[in-house]
């Protein structure tokens, strides 16, 4: 180590360092143009001059090539240096008067204009620093570039002024050029191919080292070996000069790792359909034709366009956008006969968001059938039409044309009156479908599981997580295209099944970390240690870390403050532990990055040192400071000091928090004995937990008892029989039939429920840890279409039973008509019942098998056979001659009875005329309506949605959880759905339940509310505002009590408490106020 004096301050430096390096490390500004850490210093730009005093005389010398020497005295900003730099800057300005970078640097050095004559070529931007030549020679080892001529004619050139044959178009020269004046097209005949981000759908560029997407786990950069110059040629490695932590491992090879597992889950997701270049939509030829994924990135506020809608061709905001549905879906010509299930809704969403980002933009969606079949989807569709004025046009578009000059796109379509029309758009979005991911075929071979005819993983028709191989499960879009809630549900179901196979070994491979006993600090005054992080140069490159430390040392209760290069590194953590022990620190403040990523790590350090982990506070001086104020180091330092001041103020008031442990009753209560309830019970019991199944009827089975036919020949009644047998013989399942839930009390892990068993006097009481709500739904009982007035008008359920029993009358029928959406998508029931389209087609197909000569009409609004049902039912029905007649929403068919004969009057939208049908039988496709859920919902304290089905905690992310902990939801009680979908939800609740039942005890969260009961006046405002019913009123003592297990720590109660007795741990009023005071006082 050598000691040098820079600007009258001593600094330590390694003997091989240059003066410039030492200055940079210590955050001393020296301007440079020709310097790059990967390239040998060349001292050509001269801007880095410093004044060196040696042996009594001083000289100006370039710091980039000046090695440090013991006792060197350096001035980086003396008047002499400043004058020298100013003259140099004027010379540069004269040479490159138009370069933005030179102008910017001149401005920084306070040079406004040049006194010298402007260079002969005023557009010249090259300063002849030679960085490009050196990077090409030294780093890339290509030597494609060199200097040509001498004196005033000197320039950068390729040999003989011809295209270089050795140039790899790697772009390093252009990258390092300080004035961005390198044009690669003048150097090489090869066009450089920019690397694009897959995550941004190719709309943004990326480097050869990049983070795959912002939320990637683990969130570390990767090296693209196909683009990395070191991987390709063994050159470059420039990145190593920038990583201070030496984290780059170029030698890393792919490794084969062997893991012994008991079960496997396949969830590789999907790929989107890529329209072939040159097809009739002009994708990749017309710039303003985008796929929906590209559009999605465009409207994302964190995407490449920052959420600003713009035409690719000219960057102008579009005035009119069209979405074309079913691109790569429902299309035999591209071998995708299935429906992708999600495109109708995402196009609707994109159209709405487009309107929100760009008010006044016209959004038109061209579609065939609107498939808004999911829970609350129909309402979203209605809102798009009515509130956002999204225009829906029922027409499949074959072709997009482009105006060569304006790049406007035009579409021909047939309107409702059958007229051919043409409309022009600024942008066309192709709603591309979902397809099996690229490597799935290979993966399926390795795993020895079957694929279905569409190339997705084949699953059991009723148990859609089971693959063809025992022990291997699949979830998500790998089995069939589906939306987020279905994927999340299926994922939980797969987890439950996988866990079931290895249930006996649960917990056997867990190693518990042992912490030292916690030191009691309650009688001590605060002794705060402040640790400030440089984060390499991430923080210290902007913020004056030393100054923060100096201020921190003066703050009340602070006994120790220091800085470190990386506070999160292992040695720094060891040091924190040492200091805690050595100085008896009892509160720790760390000023570094964000608590959202690093709080757990530091809290663990505290625990390892015997301190309660909540005696800890973080000041965010990187993510919310140095990274966002890099041009404002003085204010950033001030802000960082305030942040530390505030954190110290809060820390001095922190007290230890002990998480209460509450034992869990390892039993589940399942309410409802239909297929959902039974499968949920089986899933839980198979994992080894006691389960009580309650059914209000005298026998199990629910509505499955009325379903006889499967769409692909599967047998629902066999499933029912097997399931009941499994339930009745299961050692862990206790069944109560003829039983209703009378009263539920308690909370997650500790519920007490009384059950009323019909015909028995005494109620049964059970203790349990979780509740599964599987109370089912009801069939809609029609009042329309002459139902109940003629025996020839029947429901699909009744018709299905007759078909199953192959009743003789079926063969004599000549005409059968089916009417869809009976009791669905209307004013009384504004939702879609999801299953009726498929049920009708399933029955229609079966009927055609029995009676091929009969005519079957299906009167519908939209056929919603999503997923593979599109091919298995709809396309098959059309091929089998079933006739589809569409009616408008406001033109429902009319049914009249004349002498017992049925007449159906309907307006066919395709023929645009009224049809009169005289079917022998009229089958009504009735919807599913909710049970009367109000009473049980009140007992459970869970909400219902507008349609009176139960409302889950989060539509997409927690589709089968309630917001109340420990209560889960499946089957028709959730929303209308198919048998296999109900089973998936049921299995999923089993997995969710196990997350609680597998624990011996539940631990309270750290930042829960607590009430100082002696000061509570019993006003109960907090009881009312708590969204989790975690606060109850003790009638005897007239005070409120917080249930710490139920409390999620939102702090709402603390705000309403008029006497301030409700306080949130680690966010108490005193702590927050002390932070405000620390800043403003």
């Amino acid at each position: 180590m050598v000691l040098v004096t820079i600007n009258s301050k001593e600094y330590e430096a390694a003997p091989d360092e240059t003066v410039l390096e030492v200055c940079k490390k210590n955050n001393i500004f020296i301007p440079t143009l020709c310097h790059h850490p990967s390239i040998t210093p060349y001292s050509s730009c001269r801007l880095c001059i410093v004044e060196v005093t040696q042996k009594g005389w001083t000289k100006l010398t370039a710091s980039c090539s000046l090695p440090v020497k013991e006792g060197m005295i350096i001035a980086t900003n003396s008047p002499h240096v400043q004058n020298g730099r100013k003259i140099l800057m004027e010379l540069y300005l004269a040479r490159c008067p138009t370069s933005e970078q030179i102008k910017e640097l001149a401005n920084k050095l306070e040079v406004q204009k040049t006194r010298f004559k402007t260079y002969t070529d005023p557009d010249n931007k090259c300063i002849l620093c030679g960085l490009c030549v050196r990077v090409c020679n030294e780093v890339m080892k290509v030597k494609a570039l060199g200097f040509a001529h001498r004196g005033a004619k000197r320039e950068i050139a390729v040999p003989f002024q011809e295209f270089s044959h050795v140039c790899m178009t790697c772009g390093a020269c252009a990258f390092v050029c300080p004035t961005q004046c390198i044009n690669l097209s003048k150097l090489s005949p090869n066009k450089p191919v920019p690397l694009t981000s897959d995550f941004d759908a190719g709309m943004a560029q990326r480097g050869a080292i990049y983070t795959q997407f912002p939320q990637a786990i683990p969130n570390v950069p990767v090296i693209d070996k196909k683009a990395c110059m070191y991987a390709l040629n063994g050159t470059c490695k420039s990145c190593e000069n920038f990583c201070e932590k030496d984290a780059l491992k170029h030698g890393q090879e792919d490794k084969e790792i062997k893991v012994d597992v008991g079960s496997v889950i396949i969830s590789p997701g999907f790929d989107t359909y890529e329209p072939p270049k040159g097809d009739s939509y002009g994708y990749r030829i017309f710039p303003n034709v985008l796929t929906s994924i590209e559009f999605e990135r465009m409207i994302s506020s964190s995407g490449p366009y920052k959420g600003h809608l713009a035409r690719i061709s000219d960057g102008q905001p579009p005035k009119k956008i069209a979405w074309l549905q079913c691109v790569g879906s429902r299309d035999e010509s591209c071998d995708r006969q299935y429906c992708s299930s999600v495109c109708c809704m995402y196009a609707t969403k994109e159209a709405i968001i487009a309107k929100e980002h760009l008010p006044g933009v016209d959004t038109h969606i061209y579609f065939m059938d609107m498939r808004s079949f999911g829970k609350d989807f129909e309402k979203y569709y209605d809102r798009a039409k009515d509130e956002y004025e999204v225009v829906y046009r029922r027409c499949r578009i074959p072709q997009v044309e482009q105006d060569r000059k304006t790049k406007h796109l035009s579409i021909r379509y047939v309107d409702d009156d059958g007229a051919l029309k043409k409309e022009s758009y600024d942008m066309v979005v192709l709603s591309v479908g979902l397809q099996p991911c690229k490597d799935l075929a290979e993966m399926s071979k390795i795993l020895e599981v079957n694929l279905n005819r569409y190339g997705f993983i084949e699953t059991d028709p009723f148990f859609q997580v089971k693959t063809s191989r025992k022990g291997i499960y699949a979830s998500g879009t790998v089995t069939e295209p589906k939306d987020i809630p279905e994927s999340v549900t299926q994922a939980s179901a797969a987890a439950g099944e996988a866990a079931k196979d290895i249930a006996a070994l649960r917990g056997t491979e867990i190693i518990q970390k042992v912490y030292p006993d916690e030191k009691n600090v309650s009688n001590e005054n605060p002794r705060i240690g402040v640790f400030v992080c440089h984060c390499g140069i991430n923080i210290s490159g902007v913020v004056d870390v030393k100054k923060i430390v100096a201020v921190a040392q003066t703050l009340p209760f602070v006994v120790y403050a220091d800085d470190s290069l990386y506070t999160c590194s292992q040695d720094s953590n060891e040091k924190i532990k040492e200091k805690i022990k050595e100085l008896g620190l009892n509160r720790i403040v760390i000023a570094s990055c964000t608590p959202r990523t690093h709080e757990p790590l530091f809290q663990d350090t505290l625990r390892e040192a015997g301190l309660n982990p909540h005696l800890f506070e973080m000041a965010n001086i990187r993510d919310q400071n140095s990274w966002v104020h890099k041009n404002n180091p003085l204010s950033a330092t001030e802000k960082a000091i305030d942040a530390v001041r505030m954190a110290v103020a809060k820390a001095s008031d922190l007290s230890p928090i002990h998480h209460a442990k509450i034992p869990v009753v390892n039993r589940a209560l399942v309410i409802g004995g239909g297929i959902s309830g039974m499968q949920a019970a089986l899933s839980i019991a198979d994992q080894g937990y006691e389960t009580t199944l309650v059914e209000k009827e005298s026998d199990l089975g629910g509505h499955l008892k009325e379903i006889y036919l499967g769409a692909q020949g599967e047998k629902p009644q066999v499933l029912l029989k097997q399931t009941i047998e499994q339930i009745m013989s299961h050692p862990h399942i206790q069944v109560f039939t003829n039983t209703v839930v009378d009263h539920i009390s308690g909370y997650v892990g500790n519920f007490t429920t009384t059950l009323l068993v019909k015909k028995e006097m005494s109620p049964a009481t059970i203790q349990h840890g979780v509740i599964i709500v599987a109370t089912g739904g009801l069939p809609y009982e029609p009042t329309e279409y002459q139902y109940n007035k003629s025996k020839d008008v029947l429901t699909q359920t009744a018709f299905e039973k007759d078909l199953f029993e192959e009743k003789s009358y079926l063969k004599n029928l000549k005409e059968v008509a089916m009417i869809q959406c009976v009791g669905s998508r209307n004013e009384d029931h504004p939702y879609c019942s999801r299953v009726c389209c498929s049920e009708a087609l399933k029955n229609a197909l079966r009927f055609k098998e029995l009676n091929p000569d009969a005519t079957v009409y299906v009167l519908y609004r939209d056929i919603r056979t999503y997923g593979f049902r599109e091919d298995l039912l709809y396309q098959k029905a059309r091929k089998n001659g079933i006739l589809f007649i569409r009616f408008e929403d406001d033109h429902e068919p009319e049914v009249t009875l004349t002498d017992g004969k049925i007449m159906v009057k309907t307006r066919d939208t395709l023929l645009r005329r009224e049809l009169h049908l005289h079917p022998d039988k009229l089958v009504l496709s009735t919807g599913i309506i909710p049970q009367d859920n109000t009473e049980l919902a009140q007992q459970l304290k869970v909400p219902l949605n507008e349609d009176a089905f139960y409302a889950e905690a989060h539509v997409k992310l927690r589709p089968i959880d309630f917001s109340a902990d420990g209560i889960f939801l499946c089957g028709l009680a959730h929303s209308p759905r198919f048998i296999e979908e109900s089973i998936l939800q049921a299995k999923a609740t089993g997995a969710r339940a196990a997350t609680i039942l597998s624990k011996e005890y539940l631990e309270t969260k750290g930042n829960v509310a607590r009430v100082i009961s002696r000061n509570c006046v019993g006003c109960q405002l907090c009881v009312e505002i708590c969204p989790y019913d975690a606060i109850t009123f003790d009638e005897e003592k007239k005070v409120v009590i917080v249930n710490e297990i139920l409390c999620q720590g939102c702090g709402a109660c603390c705000v309403v408490c008029p006497s301030g007795v409700s306080q949130q741990n680690t966010f108490t009023k005193r702590q927050i106020v002390s932070m405000i005071d620390a800043y403003l006082e």
Partner: protein, 149 residues
Amino acid sequence: MSEEKKEHKKEDFEPKIVGFLCNWCSYAGADLAGTSRIQYPPNVRIIRVMCSGSVDSMYILRALLEGADGVFVGGCHPGDCHYIDGNYKARRRTVLLENILGTLGLEKERVWLRWISASEGQKFADTMKDMTEAVRKLGPNPIAKHWNL
């Protein structure tokens, strides 16, 4: 005293803003502005809270009385609250608070409630820019110097 001198020159005035950000959305959004290196004025001092619904109006008033020129509250978008409806609670409270601010002679534009999600780093930075400029236009907090209770 230097503060008061500054008040005379409005263009030199650097507003002091206290920002209460909910842990799940806005605080994460502010972090994302950082990871995306989106620059914004350094006038805000951020206090992390678990939910915008836990921001007591007392905090906001106290900050204003102690001399903050503006107070920012950031919560999750409607429907996205980690605690079901804490952001709606914050909204109700802010409407009430705006009336109280009037009686104190303060412009209601000194208190901003905005929905910023974890993915909206750009929006956070833009909001900070807008708010700093808006408060700069309003000028220094007029009641700060009358605070001598």
